[in-house]
């Protein structure tokens, strides 16, 4: 076979490969959706993070505004310290609420931010003081049973 013909076919193959990779990266993967380039990091303490994982989304009113950077356990206070990377475009007041929610019944967990009324905004390194833990199913059930029992008294 002619060398030129072979070159064309190989060129087509490589082009297809690049196109497929590009499609995988942008259409299938999250390469475009996580292009939160500049972020500021704030901290939040939780008594229980449930199934929260690093890179889990942070949402404000359902819009992704950042991602969980890291989760560590503090051995002095026995709680979890979560680092939140938030897009610089979005500012939140100092008294913002950070809640751990579950998307759907079986879905992944994420952090929902609910803005407070403070005039000052969160900046790099701040601590979110108002947090709500993940809902643990066992606790929920025992609470429910307890309240039922106390009603009957």
């Amino acid at each position: 076979m002619e060398r030129a013909k072979i070159d064309i076919w190989v060129g087509i193959l490589v082009a297809l490969g690049i196109a497929a990779f590009f499609a995988l990266a942008t259409k299938v993967g999250n390469l475009t959706s996580n292009d939160i380039r500049e972020t500021y990091t704030v901290l939040a303490h939780f008594e229980n993070i449930g199934g929260l994982k690093p890179r889990a989304p942070i949402k404000g009113a359902g819009v992704v505004v950042g991602r969980v950077k890291s989760i560590v356990f503090n051995t002095e206070a026995y709680h979890a310290i979560v680092e939140l990377d938030i897009d610089k475009r979005y500012v939140f007041p100092k008294d913002t609420f950070a809640n751990i929610y579950t998307s759907g019944l079986l879905g992944e967990q994420y952090i929902g931010l609910e803005a407070g009324g403070d005039e000052n905004n969160l900046v790099e390194g701040d601590l979110i003081t108002y947090t709500q833990d993940a809902v643990v199913l066992e606790k929920l059930i025992s609470q429910f049973l307890y309240s039922k029992a106390s009603e009957e008294d």
Binding site: I6, D7, W9, V10, G17, F21, L24, V28, G29, S33
Partner: protein, 261 residues
């Protein structure tokens, strides 16, 4: 007693011959690296082999990928529907393809289509003294024959695996969205939310590079090592498929346990 001695003798012989092959294969690999510079001076040789290993495997890859994607779409839908989460089908299809089936099935098809062709070609070249003739012309068969095929395999395999994953996802899209009627927006957005570029797509690509290496070097070695007879070549071709398949599945387990745990 004699039987026992024979038994252990056979085991010893089998182990020894396998170790020999492993060593000889490694030797061939390093020789290939050493001679690669020589072969890159004639880059059209490598491009020609990319044509034979890559372009000629394209049809079987695309067709298989589309069917695999459609099957994943169907099976996934039946199962997910029971839990009322049929929108997650995009995630299921994409993760299964990008992480596992893309690289693994491509490697198995690659071993069957391109690997056997390489082994048979080199084995026949050896049987008809073409490799000897080349040596007598002071041209290294490793530089002229082995190295271009090695690099062609290393280039083709990741490209084919990427195309496989993408076409497979399109197959899943075809079944889930166009045939069954899952919401298109949910299909793609759930996929995007759950398929991570660096953890899933890049790891899948790394797998395909490793499999490409394994399949190509096995095919080359079997051809180079084949006894120069018709029977020897046909046996070597069979061995290429068997050993490549086992190597791919074994390596897949090892890589998966490193990557996704």
């Amino acid at each position: 007693m004699n039987k026992l001695i024979n038994f252990f003798g056979n085991i010893g012989f089998a182990v020894r011959s396998r170790l020999y092959r492993l060593g000889a294969g490694t030797r061939l690999f390093f020789l290939t690296l050493i001679y690669s510079a020589d072969s890159f001076k004639r880059i059209h040789l490598t491009i020609r082999e990319v044509y034979f290993t890559g372009v000629l495997s394209l049809v079987i890859i695309v067709v298989s990928a589309f069917f695999v994607g459609m099957v994943l779409g169907l099976q996934g839908y039946y199962t997910l529907e029971k839990y009322g989460s049929s929108e997650a089908i995009g995630v299921l299809v994409a993760l299964a393809l990008v992480r596992e089936l893309g690289p693994v099935v491509t490697a198995l098809l690659f071993a069957g289509r391109a690997g056997t062709a390489i082994t048979a070609e080199i084995g026949l070249m050896k049987a008809t003294e073409q490799l000897s003739a080349m040596e007598m012309m002071a041209v290294s068969p490793v530089a002229r024959i082995i190295a271009p095929r090695f690099w062609a395999g290393m280039i083709s395999m990741p490209i084919l695996a990427t195309i496989f994953s993408m076409v497979g996802i399109l197959g899943g899209y075809f079944i889930a969205v166009l045939v069954i009627g899952v919401d298109e927006g949910a299909f793609w957005s759930q996929m995007q939310a759950n398929v991570d570029f660096s953890n899933d797509i890049v790891d899948g690509a790394i797998k395909s590079v490793v499999f490409g290496f394994a399949c190509t070097i096995i095919a080359l070695f079997e051809g180079f090592d084949a006894p120069p007879t018709a029977e020897g070549v046909s046996r070597a071709t069979t061995r290429t498929v068997v050993i490549s398949s086992l190597a791919v599945l074994g390596l897949d387990f090892i890589l998966t346990s490193f990557m996704f745990v």
